[in-house]
């Protein structure tokens, strides 16, 4: 079995190297970069990748995906609390863009994304519903009162609430009133809250617990991304149960976004001439942004790189199960070309140049690459 796995892994690495070869060929043919030396820098980087990626059975990939990407956004654990804590810890203003993108699933041109368009606003409802009580619970009746549509049956919003409760892994408690004051009938209220261990993690930064009064308030920091982190944690721990996490669409979507994170991290920084207008553009901040070549975005260059990279990510995240779900079709190739335009707030355009915002995940992955490259060179 292990032998088989190793063989698959080796094949994947070889496929990626072949992909690099094709990309280099395509890149030689055209140049869309207008910064002097940009194309050469990219060519050199691709050649370096080709040289160093197979080192130590693909150590760069293993460390980048296992240690960095998984730790930050998709922890490899069965423990929901641990997974949630890790994702929450990796939050920064910019990394939130990645977390949010992961919820949107993938650019999928397919209709079935992880969360449907209409569920976005419902997450906002959850945030507001939790914010409005001082015990950090939401009650079904309160939720209906806040968001129910008088013109639609209650079952409509009930279903939405149930879906979200499952999606976020909330827990429910029932409170039975034997005789309701108004109707004199028995009434059951369902309270939803976060599991105790999650509450512990949220304490201080996101929830302020007042022991004396027994209240739990949400702080200003509590927002929709907290829920998205829960959702991701839920998908991460249930990665072996495809049915539960939304099937191949989720697998393809998540792998594609992580493949983009990897690719962006590996791109070389370019030095721009001091007369370049980008340096005077108020939206460009030299302290935390780098200009990178844009040629990798060309369809011809991206396609051969992206396909094997997505498979590499899938294999590392979900083993053979995920790998087998990567849809290898012409249609998907089309979809992959779309992924290059994602993560727009950290992979952005400034005056026609592609700029990478140096968020922690990019820096950490780039450091692994540098470390291994330098290590190999010094050994030689």
């Amino acid at each position: 079995m292990i032998e088989n796995q190793d063989r698959t892994w080796k094949e994947l690495l070889q496929e990626f190297i072949k992909g690099i070869d094709k990309a280099v060929d395509e890149l030689e043919k055209r140049d869309v970069d207008n910064i002097p030396g940009a194309k050469q820098a990219l060519l050199q980087r691709l050649n370096n990748m080709k040289l160093h990626f197979p080192t130590n059975e693909g150590e760069i990939f293993i460390r980048s995906i296992n240690d960095k990407i998984q730790n930050a956004f998709f922890p490899d654990t069965q423990d929901f609390t641990e997974a949630f804590e890790k994702i929450l810890k990796s939050r920064t203003h910019e990394q939130d863009f990645i977390i949010n993108e992961l919820l949107n699933g993938f650019v999928t041109s397919k209709a079935k994304a992880i969360a449907l368009g209409t569920q976005g606003p419902i997450i906002d409802r959850m945030v507001e519903a939790f914010s409005k009580r001082n015990d950090f619970h939401i009650v079904d009746h309160q939720f209906f009162a806040m968001f129910g549509d008088p013109n639609k049956p209650r079952s409509y919003i009930k279903k939405q609430l149930e879906e979200l409760v499952n999606m976020f892994g909330l827990i429910s408690k029932e409170f039975v009133v034997e005789k309701d004051k108004r109707t004199s009938e028995r009434k059951v209220y369902t309270f939803y809250t976060f599991p105790d261990e999650i509450l512990k993690i949220l304490e201080e930064k996101y929830i302020i617990i007042d022991d004396e009064l027994g209240h739990a308030y949400v702080s200003e920091e509590f927002d929709r991304t907290v829920f998205i982190c829960m959702f991701l944690a839920n998908v991460a721990i249930n990665r072996d149960d495809l049915e539960k996490i939304g099937g191949p669409y989720t697998v393809n979507g998540i792998c594609a976004i992580f493949a983009l994170v990897l690719l962006l991290s590996f791109m070389p920084k370019l030095s721009v001439d001091e007369t370049n207008p980008i340096l005077r553009d108020p939206t460009f901040n030299e302290q935390n942004m780098s200009v990178i070549p844009k040629s990798w975005m060309m369809k011809q260059v991206l396609e051969p790189l992206f396909e094997p990279l997505i498979k590499v990510v899938a294999y590392r995240l979900g083993g053979g199960l995920w790998y087998s779900k990567i849809i290898d079709s012409e249609i998907n190739k089309k979809i992959h070309t779309q992924i290059r335009f994602l993560l727009r707030d950290v992979n952005k355009w400034v005056l026609g140049q592609l700029v990478r915002v140096e968020i922690p995940i990019f820096i950490e992955i780039a450091n692994i690459f540098t470390e291994i490259t330098i290590g190999t060179n010094s050994q030689e």
Partner: protein, 426 residues
Amino acid sequence: MVKISSRREKWHDILPRYMTFISHMRPILRETRRIIIHLDADLLLDTEVLDKIRQEEEKRNIRKVRALSEFSAMYRSNVYEIIKDFIIKYRDKIPILDIKDYIVDFLHESVDALSILQNITNPDERNVANTYLYRLTKFIEEILFTRGNNIKHIYEKLLNHAPKFYECQRHLLMPHTYYREKIENPDFFMIPGISPKVYQVINNITSLYNLDPNFGRFPERNNYEIPMILTNEVFLPYVDSIANAEEEAIENIAERIGLRILDGIFLAPQKNTVEIFLEHNFLRENKQSDDSIRLIPQFSNETLILYYLAFTSFRRGFLSKELINWISMNFAFLTYMGILKWKLSDENIFYAIFKDLQTNEKVLPYLMKLICFPNYLGLDKMKIRDSVQYRKEIFNFIGSQIDNLKDLIEEIAIYCETIDEKNKNK
């Protein structure tokens, strides 16, 4: 179905409604402050005393309108509960005299905030340019939804604020109720907000221009070439007809971002857009060997999105219902929160009441309508929804805040301070 108010509401119809609840909140807080000031600090230690005072106060309630008396009772009870909680929490840590002072100060700040909210404008719109409503709306408008004689002027002003507030500007264009909208309205002039898919399409267009555009003859200027991209290529990745609606409405979308369809297959900048983009370095001239001039695109993330915003602002009379509700909700919320930020210290215990949904839903909907009047945003207030369901949407909206809006609220609070100082110096 959500109903739109059938009656054309006038300023003096809406202002009293806005005032109603605020004018009930302020006396409650003032009265509470008076009571606390005159109460022996030691008595505060016994929370039952506060309960009794509240009960007595409630007896004095002689409001005839049920909704109002219910609201007042709820409001008063919240105020007293918060005071009680504060006392219980700190009675062992802080001397009771200091606790009393804190409560009085917090009440004082809250009364001040309500006083500003109550006097945000006046029934006759007298001296309109000096009212808080006017000045704050104009302040926010300048940053997010600038007015101007032409798109070029508006675009320039928006771009100046983009480095600090681009995320807010983008947020203003993306209503959360996009799924109710049609991208291609039977009324060609109607402008909807940007849905996530349209946002993606605009991103694709930006990227394709920057990556590898074609060039073609500039129809309005000899010897010039403008960049063009194939419409097909924008929609290539969308399989399963998932972006059919967007593809069919590409002409409308293009117009909103300053582009047009040329030869039936290309997306190219309009004549006026070329001028604007050249001025802001989003296009640069490049002389070719045959002496023709090629306009090379160098777009930023904001280039097309801000054009959409400028276009929306310029044609604000033709916005869709969802977009009008969303924009006015943002303005109302920013105005309200800006005033609170200015008047209340961060530790004020009554902040929670101001942010309570029951308070929000009494204040924000009317503030939204007031903000739509011609002197302010000049939007079609008839499109503002006025139903229970709509009020619930305010809750979604408040839950969807972005960090950048918080930065803007800080700026508004600072601006309020400036207005106040200027008024004092007069």
